[in-house]
């Protein structure tokens, strides 16, 4: 039934178009081409441009204002507030320019439509005008460039020494996070040649910093503390995209990248603010990476620092989960490895306990 209606509609439209075509052909033949210039068609087209201008600018402002909350993504990072401000300043400048130029253009189009006996003005150039509209955009853009540069330099400057380091690894089609572990707070070395089915990080177990590193499939972050994401990829390009934090950085095989930022709102705060108890921060992949590109999601949990530290302390080291890999640890370091990975009590601490 539906397809019948659609095909009838299509046939009707085609028939109408064909009629218009025949009639217009006859008119051109009857009148001759010269009369066409100032004819009704010209007037209709001119008027339609005004209709278009009013309708499109009206629609643009109506939607932009009425649906602001739908397309404006809440921001939850320090630099994100800054770049959002830049975004909206640029928006203001360009909307003003856009509206003025559009109106002037469409009004000219309507006002100066062909009229019998009217003659266009011979006006080949005017150096003052041209100078003006070279210099004015140049100044406006210079200001925008300057503010943008400051933000960019700040965002890309080195992270603080005590920033919270987390490693993110992209692979087809999942994200994994590696945390430095609470004992040494440093990420162990890794090498892609050491990757196998279990050792997905390519963890180099001759490095003692690797022993307490742990893996997480959820990205936990502390609020109000600088975070340094170390990013790498195992197979093809991916891109870490944290939309609410205004963070984006490619994951490149063979070239580790990084991004530093500070989150300003915990997941809970955001839930309260939005009145949406199911809200969650998400990490998406923003660089085409194959079949499952659209599904490369990682959940993100932002907590108060205390809760975050507690979560970290509760995580098992990777080595503890995969004790087979102890045999890759050099003999001299085995003991330290067991202790750091939490597979054996730290003798130092048991002495302390005994002293109690």
């Amino acid at each position: 039934m539906m397809s019948l209606i659609i095909s009838l509609g299509v046939i009707l439209i085609l028939a109408i178009l064909y009629m218009i075509f025949r009639v217009s052909n006859l008119i051109t033949i009857a009148k001759g081409p010269r009369d066409q210039r100032g004819g009704t068609a010209n007037k209709v087209n001119a008027a339609l441009f005004i209709v278009f201008m009013v309708a499109s600018l009206g629609g643009f402002f109506w939607y932009s204002i009425a649906y602001f909350d739908e397309y404006n993504l809440p921001v939850a990072s320090d630099h994100g507030k800054w770049t959002d401000t830049l975004f909206w300043i640029t928006m203001a400048v360009s909307v003003i320019a856009f509206v003025i130029i559009s109106i002037v253009m469409f009004v000219f189009i309507y006002r100066y439509q062909y009229r019998e006996g009217q003659r266009a003005k011979y006006y080949p150039d005017n150096h003052y005008l041209e100078l003006a509209w070279t210099i004015i955009p140049a100044i406006v853009l210079a200001v925008l460039i300057f503010t943008g540069l400051r933000a960019w330099n700040d965002i890309t400057s080195p992270a603080a020494k005590d920033a919270e380091v987390v490693e993110l690894i992209g692979q087809q089609f999942a994200w994994t996070a590696r945390y430095p572990g609470v004992k040494d707070g440093a990420l162990g070395k890794n090498n892609y040649k050491l990757i196998d089915d279990v050792n997905e990080f390519g963890l180099d177990l001759t490095d003692k910093n690797a022993f307490d590193d742990f893996k997480s499939l959820e990205l936990h972050l502390p609020v109000n503390k600088e975070i340094l994401l170390k990013i790498r990829a195992k197979d093809v390009l991916h891109s870490v995209f944290l939309p609410h934090f205004r963070v984006k950085m490619d994951a490149v095989p063979g070239m580790p990248t990084q991004f530093k930022f500070t989150v300003t709102k915990t997941t809970q705060q955001m839930r309260d603010e939005l009145g949406n108890p199911n809200f969650n921060y998400e990490l998406a992949c923003a660089e085409i990476c194959g079949r499952g590109h659209f599904s490369m999601k990682m959940s993100v949990v932002v907590e108060e620092e205390e809760a975050y530290e507690k979560w970290k302390a509760s995580q098992e080291a990777w080595l503890k989960q995969n004790p087979d890999y102890l045999k890759k640890v050099p003999d001299a370091l085995k003991e330290a490895a067991m202790i750091k990975a939490g597979m054996q009590k730290d003798p130092g601490s048991s002495v302390a306990e005994a002293n109690d």
């Binding site: 081409p33 770049t83 830049l86 100066y112 080949p124 509209w133 540069l149 087809q172 490149v252 998406a284």
Partner: protein
């Protein structure tokens, strides 16, 4: 100038002797319509091939828009065409979705808006507007088309592979494009893509060198550079940009071929895929991106400049006014052409490239906005106090200015590296480049077809259908691309098969539906154009010699110019092409070949001084021409 000129002249004059009697010239079907060396025939070949590609590229986009707009729709009815690519549940295969996106982009950017646009109008207009009998080398010109044809055949074939065509995006970033284990399309599909593009580059170089040589050497008497129509200037810059940048893409593709097939590691390093660590070591995927965008950014101007040139001409003619700021227009195009080579890394702000480079490229990128703004202002001023006729060509030119404005302005956001962090690879970028590059160039191309159709086929297109086509397409394009700005600001990433996995991107189903519906209707409206085009080719009203009362030289040729374009002598040029509505003149236009001595009523004082030169010029010319015969 002299030597080449004489060759062509003697060559073609010989030809002309036959032409005088019967309007069409010697040769059989094959030499006249297939392996023709006549620039006008080659232009039409590019045009028809381009139209074919445009339809295909448009259809591909409608298929993937169905997926995005109506994710729950059952697509079983596409099975007869797409076969295995429709899953048993009646859905589009996610990998084929990427293949569609990739082929859509490749087809539109290269096959339609580069070959279809430049190929058509550079071939058609350069000899006709500068007053030459043909291109500098008709043979290379023919080769240029046939390389393009071969490239088209290969690219088209790749659509039917069982592993699918290339699927890594039109930017074919490695390692994805280098590793068949990463995506099926990187197997044979990618190989064919690379071969097709290599042939395409050969075609575009042959064409470009020819255009440049022709413009420099074969201008008719009096056609100095400062008297050239803006179309020719635009096509000239386009050709130069192409000749300088396409070889870099060729190099990039070649290295990729080595990495794919011969075990080198230009772009590959530290890769673990499919359960094994690859031996490739020390390469950099970023290197490829630098090489690609070194072509890629100039490419957007290769696509755009011809459209700007065509519409400058059409807007001046139909406003009955000189284009405002002729020199400024040339200056801005020159400036854009130069700057286009040093802004490429604005596509790479978040690749992990050195942030200092990011600062430099941001600076340069925002500078390029200045000449673009100048061009817009000059268009608008050209309309001021005009006497505007809304021919179909004019309507589409106005549409092109409107898109150039709407799409260009969002470049200011993207060029700002701090803002681009969020917007990069979202639908905001898709909205931006579809308006400024896609739609603007497309409208320039359509404007050109409507405007020069009478010269191409000797008949007029139907103007009413032209208007209907314009309004449906103009509104349609805005309905398709404008909403994408909102979707992009909301963070929706591009090249996504579906967004339902993410809470963050779960909204806007209504807007996506609107976009897809508008895309289908806009594509449907193109059939009005197709009907008009092919019907008018055979049955349209016969065209007068100069239907738009235009000043440029092509309108001094016979209704259906033969090979050699002018019967008898090529007209000389005495004035710039924009003497519209000159005070004092009888008509509101004075074609370029009318000497100042014939228009004392409208000459400016400085032009009266030129009259003396005209006669001495004229005498000189007769001697030269006599020598040649």
């Amino acid at each position: 100038m002299a030597t080449t000129d004489i060759h062509i002249h003697s060559d073609v004059h010989h030809h002309d002797d036959h032409d005088h009697e019967h309007e069409h010239h010697e040769g059989n079907f094959w030499t006249n319509y297939v392996f023709s060396q006549d620039h006008k025939v080659i232009a039409k070949q590019f045009l028809i091939t381009g139209i074919f590609w445009a339809l295909l590229g448009g259809t591909l986009s409608v298929i993937f828009r169905l997926q995005l707009g109506f994710p729950d729709m059952n697509l079983d009815w596409l099975k007869p065409v797409l076969g295995e690519w429709i899953t048993p549940e009646g859905k589009l295969d996610p990998e084929f979705y990427l293949a569609l996106v990739t082929m859509h982009g490749t087809i539109m950017v290269f096959f339609v808006l580069t070959a279809g646009l430049s190929g058509t109008f550079a071939n058609f207009l350069i000899p006709l507007q500068i007053g030459a009998r043909d291109m500098a080398s008709g043979f290379l010109n023919m080769l240029s088309y046939w390389f393009f044809f071969l490239s088209s055949v290969i690219m088209f074939t790749s659509l039917f592979l069982s592993t699918g065509p290339a699927s890594g995006g039109w930017t074919i970033y490695p390692p994805l494009s280098a590793l068949p284990q990463a995506i099926k399309g990187s197997g044979l599909g990618m190989t064919l893509w690379l071969v097709a593009m290599a042939l395409f580059i050969v075609s575009s170089l042959l064409g470009g060198i020819n255009y440049i040589t022709t413009i420099i050497n074969l201008r008719t008497k009096g056609m100095s550079f400062t008297k050239m129509p803006l179309t020719i200037w635009a096509l000239f810059f386009t050709a130069i940009i192409g000749v300088l940048s396409f070889p870099v893409l060729f190099a990039a593709a070649l290295l990729l071929i080595f990495d794919r097939s011969f075990g080198t590691s230009f772009y590959l390093s530290d890769i673990y895929i499919g359960g094994e660590a690859l031996a490739h070591d020390g390469g950099s995927p970023i290197l490829f991106q630098h090489l690609f965008w070194f072509l890629g950014h100039p490419e957007v101007y290769i696509v755009l400049l011809p459209a700007l040139g065509l519409s400058s001409e059409i807007i001046a003619t139909n406003s009955r006014k000189p284009i405002f700021g002729y020199k400024a227009m040339i200056g801005s195009m020159l400036f854009i052409a130069i700057l286009s080579f040093i802004v490429w890394a604005h596509h790479m702000f978040v690749t992990g490239m050195n942030p200092f480079l990011g600062s430099i490229f941001m600076l340069l990128t925002l500078i390029i906005a200045v000449p673009s703004a100048v061009k817009i202002f000059n268009y608008v001023t050209t309309l001021w106090k005009g006497n505007i006729r809304f021919t179909s060509g004019m309507l589409f030119s106005i549409g092109m200015v409107s898109f150039f404005l709407t799409g260009g302005i969002t470049g200011i956001f993207l060029g700002n590296s701090a803002i681009d962090i969020q917007l990069h690879d979202t639908y905001f970028v898709v909205a931006h480049f579809h308006l400024v590059m896609g739609s603007a160039s497309f409208f320039g191309m359509l404007a050109g077809i409507y405007h020069w159709f009478p010269k191409m086929f000797g008949r007029m297109m139907n103007e009413t259908l032209g208007s209907i086509h314009f309004w449906l397409t103009f509104v349609g394009v805005y309905m398709v691309f404008f909403p994408m700005h909102y979707i992009g600001i909301a963070g929706f990433p591009r090249r996504y098969y579906s967004w339902t996995n993410f809470d963050t991107f779960s909204g806007f189903t209504d807007l996506n539906m609107l976009v897809s519906t508008a895309a289908i209707l806009t594509l449907a409206a193109q059939f009005i154009f197709l009907f008009n085009f092919f019907y008018s080719m055979f049955r349209g009203r016969l065209a007068p010699a100069n239907p738009w009362q235009s000043n440029t030289l092509e309108w001094t040729t016979p209704r259906n110019p033969g090979h050699g374009n002018w019967v008898g002598e090529i007209p000389s040029v005495y004035r710039w092409p924009y003497d519209y509505s000159k005070p004092g003149s009888k008509e509101d236009y004075i074609p370029q070949h009318i000497p100042f001595s014939e228009t004392p009523e409208s000459n400016l004082p400085s032009e009266n001084d030129l009259i003396k030169l005209e006669t001495s010029n004229g005498e000189g010319k007769i001697i030269v021409e006599g020598g040649k015969h």
